[in-house]
C-alpha cells in the first residue's frame, strides 16, 4: 500500500543524505521525495511517498525515527489528510490543438504561466491522480517536458505536526 510519511528534521547539512541513504541501505522504496525548510528555519520538513507491506512501513517509520536528526514524523495515510503535488508541463500548442489544450487546462483548473506561438507552459496542482489524468487527457504526443515536485501533504482538521 502507498503511504505518505511527513518528517520534521534538523535543518542541517547531511540530514537529507541520511534519509535517502537509509532507504537504499535497507532496500526501502521511494516514489517521491520533497524537502524544504519550515517557518522555523532550524527545521526542514520532508515528505516521502513509499509503498510496502505493513511490516515494511513499520520498519520505515521506526528506522526514520532512529536517525538522530529526525525530530518527529507522522504517517499521513493513517488519518484523513490532504495531498498535493505541483507540476509544470510544457505542451505543444500550435494550430488547431491550441484551443483544445487551453480548454483542457481550464477544466483541470490549471494555469498557463508562459506562452510562445507554439508552446504553452502550464502549472497544475493536485493529487498524483489528477496530474496523471491531465497528462492522459492532453495526450503524450503534445507533452514536451514535465517537472513534478513530488507529493507534499498535511493532516486534515486540528492535528498538526510540530515540535
Amino acid at each position: 500500500m502507498r503511504h505518505i510519511i511527513a518528517v520534521l528534521m534538523e535543518n542541517e547539512a547531511g540530514a537529507l543524505s541520511r534519509v535517502v541513504g537509509l532507504f537504499s541501505q535497507r532496500n526501502f522504496n521511494i516514489e517521491t521525495l520533497n524537502v524544504a525548510p519550515t517557518e522555523d528555519p532550524t527545521l526542514s520538513r520532508l515528505t516521502v511517498t513509499t509503498t510496502g507491506s505493513d511490516r515494511v512501513i513499520e520498519q520505515i517509520t521506526k528506522q526514520l525515527n532512529k536517525l538522530i536528526e529526525v525530530v518527529k514524523l507522522v504517517d499521513l495515510t493513517d488519518g484523513d489528510h490532504i495531498e498535493r503535488e505541483m507540476m509544470l508541463i510544457k505542451l505543444k500548442a500550435a494550430g488547431q490543438h491550441r484551443d483544445e489544450i487551453k480548454r483542457t487546462v481550464d477544466i483541470f483548473r490549471g494555469q498557463i504561466v508562459d506562452v510562445t506561438s507554439s508552446v504553452y507552459t502550464v502549472q497544475l496542482a493536485g493529487d498524483q491522480g489528477k496530474l496523471d489524468a491531465f497528462i492522459n487527457a492532453i495526450g503524450e504526443t503534445y507533452v514536451l517536458e514535465t517537472v513534478r515536485t513530488g507529493v507534499s501533504g498535511i493532516a486534515r482538521g486540528e492535528k498538526v505536526l510540530s515540535i
Binding site: 511490516r55 513499520e58 525515527n65 538522530i68 536528526e69 525530530v71
Partner: protein, 571 residues
C-alpha cells in the same frame, strides 16, 4: 584560550578518557602535537587503523565505556571503517575522531581526502563534521552521549585540519550535559506492557528466556538471572549474550541458532512463550522466520524500537532498557505471588533434560593423538579456570569457543557476532589486556583470521601486552571448508591456506614466545607453560583435525529443530 587541537585533547580528558588508539597522519598532526604536550590521555600506536578500532571496541565491550580512536583523513579513516562497522553491528559504544583535509580543499580531491561522513554513514549511529573550532567541545560531548546512550553504537567526528590550527585560540568549556531535541532514547518500558508480560510469564507452561547482547551490554545480567530463577525459566543466551547467564547453571540451555545447542533449539521450537531480553532475532538465530517457533508467543524487550518486529512479530513489544524493564518485572513478581504452574514446568524441564541427554555437545575424539578443536577449547577453559576474557576471531574456532568455553560471567566473551570480522580477535585481546593487565586474556583464532591483523605483534612488543594466542590451526578456512563439504561436494575452492608462515619464527621475530602443538599429549603441558609466562605474549600454534565440522548445524531454510547433529545424523 585553547586551539582546536588542544580542545580535542582537553575534551577527551574532561570526558575521563584514559587511552585512545590511533595512527598519525597529515590532517591530525596538530592534534597529535597537542596530545604530545600532556600526559593524561595515553595513546596506543597501532600498526593498522583497523586494529585501533577493534582495540577500542573490545575495551568498550569489557568495560562498558566508549572506546576512542584517532585516525587521519583518507586511508586512515577508510582503514577504520571495518572496525566501525563491527562495532555498529554489535551495538558497541565508540567515538572515532578522524582528521579531514582543510575546509577549503574539501570536495577538490585533495591529497588524502575521503568523504568519511558519506563512507561511514551506513555503519555509524551518527556522525558529525566540525565546521567551526568553537563547536569542538560540544560536538565531542554529543558524540560520547550519542555513542553510549540508548542503543549504543559508533560515532564519527570529522575534523578538518584548519579547525585545529595551533595559533587560533578560542574559549573552551566542556558541557556537563547535553540535550538534543531530536534524540531522546527510552529510559523505561511501558508499565502496562510490562504487567502484561509478567502475567504471560506466570501463565506460561513452556517458557524460554532468550538473553541477548542487549542484556550484556545493558549490564542487566543479574536482574535477568534473578527473573529466570524466580520463575524457574530455562535460559538460552545468544552468541552476543554468552556469559549473561552462568553456563554452569542447570537453567542454562546453551546458545540458540545455526550452531546452537540441540536442547536450546528444541526448547525454543516447542516453547509457548519466548521472553527476548535484548536479542534481535538475527537470521543466524531464527533459521527460517516463517517456520520459527510455531507455538510461541513473543515478548520482545529492546531499547531500539526498530529491532522489535523486524524479523519476528512481537506479541508484546516493550521498548526500554533491559535493566529497568526486568527490574520492574521483578518488582511486580514481588507483589504478585502467582507463579507458573509447577506441574507444567516440571514436565517442561523433564522434556528439556531428555533433549540434553540426546546430544549434550558430544563429539568424537581421534585415537591417533590428532587434536579436535573442541578439545583445545576445553583445555583452555581448564587452564584458565573459566575466568579468562576470551577474544575470538571468526570461523569454526569462534563457534567452538562459543560452544565449549562455558562462560559464567558476562563481558568475558568478546567476538564480532554481527559483522563476523576476521582479524578482530587479536587486537580485541590487546584492548582488553591493556585495561585489565592482571586478567588472563586469550585470543582464540585460526591461522586464517590471525593473518588478517598479525602486524599487531609489533604493537604488543611496544606496549608489553602479554596476551595468549590460541591459534587453532587446521591449515584451511575451516568454516568455508565445512560449507564446501556440506553443500559443494567437498570442492575446496580457495579455502586452503597454502604457504603458512612458520608461526614460531614469526612470533620470535617480534620478541614473543611461541609453542607448536601437534599431538594431544602436548596440549596441556604447552598451555600450562604458556599461561605460566605471565609477562610474555605466547603464540600457541595448535594443529588440529582439519576434517572436523561444527555441530549441531541447522538445516538451511528450515525450523529451529531441524539440525545436523554430526556428519551422518539429522533430527
Amino acid at each position: 584560550m585553547l586551539s582546536g587541537a588542544e580542545m580535542v585533547i582537553r575534551s577527551l580528558q574532561d570526558e575521563g578518557v584514559e587511552y585512545i588508539y590511533g595512527y598519525p597522519g597529515g590532517s591530525v598532526l596538530h592534534i597529535y602535537d597537542a596530545l604530545f604536550q600532556q600526559d593524561k590521555v595515553k595513546h596506543v600506536l597501532v600498526r593498522h587503523e583497523q586494529a585501533a578500532t577493534h582495540m577500542a571496541d573490545a575495551y568498550a565491550r569489557a568495560s562498558g565505556k566508549p572506546g576512542v580512536v584517532l585516525v587521519t583523513s583518507g586511508p586512515g579513516a577508510t582503514n577504520a571503517v571495518t572496525g566501525i562497522a563491527t562495532a555498529y553491528m554489535d551495538s558497541i559504544p565508540m567515538v572515532v575522531i578522524s582528521g579531514q583535509v582543510m575546509s577549503h580543499l574539501i570536495g577538490e580531491d585533495a591529497f588524502q581526502e575521503t568523504d568519511i561522513l558519506g563512507v561511514s554513514r551506513p555503519v555509524v549511529k551518527h556522525n558529525f563534521a566540525i565546521k567551526n573550532p568553537k563547536d569542538i567541545a560540544e560536538t565531542i560531548k554529543k558524540a560520547f552521549y550519542v555513542a553510549s546512550s540508548g542503543r549504543p553504537g559508533p560515532v564519527v567526528v570529522d575534523i578538518p585540519k584548519d579547525m585545529t590550527t595551533p595559533t587560533d585560540k578560542f574559549e573552551y568549556s566542556y558541557p556537563e550535559q547535553i540535550e538534543m531535541r531530536s534524540y531522546n532514547p527510552a529510559t523505561r518500558g511501558h508499565s502496562g506492557q510490562i504487567k502484561k508480560a509478567v502475567d504471560m510469564l506466570v501463565a506460561a507452561k513452556r517458557p524460554v528466556i532468550l538473553l541477548g547482547g542487549g542484556t550484556v551490554g545493558g549490564r542487566a545480567c543479574d536482574e535477568a538471572a534473578a527473573l529466570a530463577r524466580e520463575l524457574n525459566t530455562p535460559v538460552s543466551t545468544t552468541l552476543m549474550g554468552l556469559g549473561g547467564f552462568p553456563a554452569s547453571d542447570r537453567q542454562w540451555l546453551g546458545m540458540p541458532g545455526m550452531h546452537g545447542s540441540y536442547e536450546a533449539n528444541m526448547a525454543l521450537h516447542h516453547a509457548d512463550l519466548i521472553l527476548s531480553l535484548g536479542a534481535r532475532f538475527d537470521d543466524r538465530v531464527t533459521n527460517s522466520t516463517e517456520k520459527f517457533c510455531p507455538t510461541a508467543r513473543v515478548i520482545h524487550v529492546d531499547i531500539d524500537p526498530s529491532s522489535i518486529s523486524k524479523t519476528i512479530a512481537a506479541d508484546v513489544p516493550i521498548v526500554g532498557p533491559t535493566k529497568s524493564v526486568v527490574t520492574e518485572m521483578l518488582g511486580l513478581l514481588g507483589k504478585n505471588k502467582a507463579r507458573p504452574d509447577a506441574d507444567a514446568l516440571a514436565s517442561w524441564w523433564n522434556q528439556i533434560d531428555q533433549w540434553r541427554e540426546r546430544h549434550g555437545g558430544h563429539y568424537e575424539t581421534n585415537d591417533n593423538g590428532l587434536l579436535k578443536p573442541q578439545q583445545v577449547i576445553e583445555a583452555v577453559h581448564k587452564v584458565t579456570n573459566g575466568e579468562a576474557y576470551v577474544c575470538s576471531d571468526v570461523g569454526q574456532h569462534q563457534m567452538f569457543a562459543a560452544q565449549y568455553y562455558k562462560f559464567d560471567k558476562p563481558n568475558r566473551w568478546i567476538n564480532s557476532g554481527g559483522l563476523g570480522t576476521m582479524g578482530f580477535g587479536f587486537p580485541a585481546a590487546m584492548g582488553v589486556k591493556l585495561h585489565y593487565p592482571d586478567a588472563e586474556v586469550v585470543c582464540v583464532t585460526g591461522e586464517g583470521s590471525f593473518q588478517m591483523n598479525l602486524q599487531e605483534f609489533s604493537t604488543c612488543s611496544q606496549y608489553g601486552l602479554p596476551v595468549k594466542i590460541i591459534c587453532i590451526n587446521n591449515g584451511s578456512l575451516g568454516m568455508v571448508r565445512q560449507w564446501q563439504d556440506m553443500n559443494y561436494e567437498s570442492r575446496h575452492s580457495q579455502s586452503y591456506m597454502q604457504s603458512l608462515p612458520d608461526f614460531e619464527k614469526l612470533a620470535e621475530a617480534y620478541g614473543h614466545e611461541a609453542i607448536t602443538v601437534t599431538h594431544e599429549s602436548e596440549l596441556m603441558p604447552a598451555l600450562e607453560k604458556a599461561f605460566a609466562m605471565k609477562d610474555k605474549l605466547v603464540f600457541l600454534d595448535i594443529h588440529v583435525d582439519a576434517a572436523e565440522h561444527v555441530y549441531p548445524m541447522q538445516v538451511p531454510k528450515a525450523s529451529m529443530r531441524d539440525m545436523w547433529l554430526n556428519k551422518t545424523e539429522r533430527t
